[in-house]
Subunit: 208 residues, 3 copies
Amino acid sequence: MARLSSIFAPKDREFFDMFEEAAVNGVRAADLLDQMLRGWPDTADLAREILICEQNGDRITHDIIKRINETFVTPIDREDILELASKLDDIVDHTEEVADMLGLYKIEAPMEQAQRLSHILLQSTRQLAEAMPRMRDFQDINHYTVEVNRLENDGDRISRDAIASLFDGGIDPMVVIRWKDIFDGLEAAIDATEHVANTLEGIVIKNA
Amino acid sequence: MARLSSIFAPKDREFFDMFEEAAVNGVRAADLLDQMLRGWPDTADLAREILICEQNGDRITHDIIKRINETFVTPIDREDILELASKLDDIVDHTEEVADMLGLYKIEAPMEQAQRLSHILLQSTRQLAEAMPRMRDFQDINHYTVEVNRLENDGDRISRDAIASLFDGGIDPMVVIRWKDIFDGLEAAIDATEHVANTLEGIVIKNA
Amino acid sequence: MARLSSIFAPKDREFFDMFEEAAVNGVRAADLLDQMLRGWPDTADLAREILICEQNGDRITHDIIKRINETFVTPIDREDILELASKLDDIVDHTEEVADMLGLYKIEAPMEQAQRLSHILLQSTRQLAEAMPRMRDFQDINHYTVEVNRLENDGDRISRDAIASLFDGGIDPMVVIRWKDIFDGLEAAIDATEHVANTLEGIVIKNA
């Protein structure tokens, strides 16, 4: 398959550079959220750095779209480039949303399950960052997508347990509403990594 | 149109076998949830059988992806196979989520509107299971998609009425939060059947 | 590019007429919701007119699908026509949902941030209605999509501030649950305009 990638002009290969940059940006945002939740509330300032990741993600997406418009022959279908760029961006968007909620909701102490979920998110973004270079020559990425799916399943169970514990009794409804929202946000971020994995799988299936 | 399907190799036709299997699995999960809600809480054990449907759905999806990778010429576009498989899987995922919530939230008695929604879900999955064999030769499935859309509209109205009744006064906020989540889950499952209907319609439009 | 559009048969160009009709229908629904929120509760009757927009949207979508089935060569890919029709319809669906919630939840007075969000929704639908005629010959619509994205970002910030204010203290949990739902609905409607902008961008990228 190395043959295929070697026939791309250097300019075309820059799409893959940008996808890798977006994936690494996702790892960075997830890593910051993970640190943030482990040290909360002393780590509240990290929200600003996650916001920078989010803006960086927007910039990368914008660069990718600009590049599609300037490129005559793209290494993968234009609509697939657009879809992958957009789904990668969703990861950082949801991560930033969770970071912001911790402050908005004036959370006092982190729930342990939220810490576990942010760690799962970090692991899942790392899988994507490892899979991404393999896209250059449409190598099999099954190993990574299986792992992302497994992590998502784990996250699902943790999230359900956490929500059940919120209803176990004696907790202020306003606290329940806040934390349900945060768990929903963490799940959405983890789901976004699974959507990227599915998109990668679709692209490999189409091009391999 | 029978001409078209007859030129597919038997191996290719297995995609349609797997789609039908997934659709029947959806009917089974919806049927179990319907029984569960009608008899709740005596039927709590059915959650385990719905979980088996959910795992069965994952297995079918995985088989379909494996088959795409092994097949040189697919009867419909690879990305459409992947999309249909993924959307069929969503039905069972949301159905299982609702079944699980009944236990997680320690629901004491089912709301009547939840029973009506699970019955709508069951009818909608049955429409899909009837439409699916017609995909083999891209026959018109308009009759089924119209019916799925009609059911979704009915469900929407029931769900809104149910939520309004939760706010009519005197209900504990914690009970409201729980039931809103269950109604959202039921709506998501019914929406998932509509997404499958839309995907089927798109595939027929592309291939007929 | 005028060359391209001029080779379409008049019948094909009717797809663009229908997209424009759907976009204008979206502006009308958003305009009504904007009026409704500014004058609430005296404007409660406008919900019925928004419902008519929603039914009108369903009719347009149905007409588009019917036309795809009757047309041999479509001006853009069939699946893109279907996706654009479906995403345009989402705008009106979410708008109608918010209008309905105001009544269902027996809202007494509108929150100022909800008024600002409905105004953003209106501006965003107007951008889409202006961009739509440019689709006929796949002109650059970057100006409009950038503006829709900017509006969505503004909306996001307003929505977050509003939700934070709900948690600032002393507000009845039942009121918080209601308003969170309304803000979610407004955000979903604004997100739907962004999804249409992304779809338009994808279609231009593919066809220009």
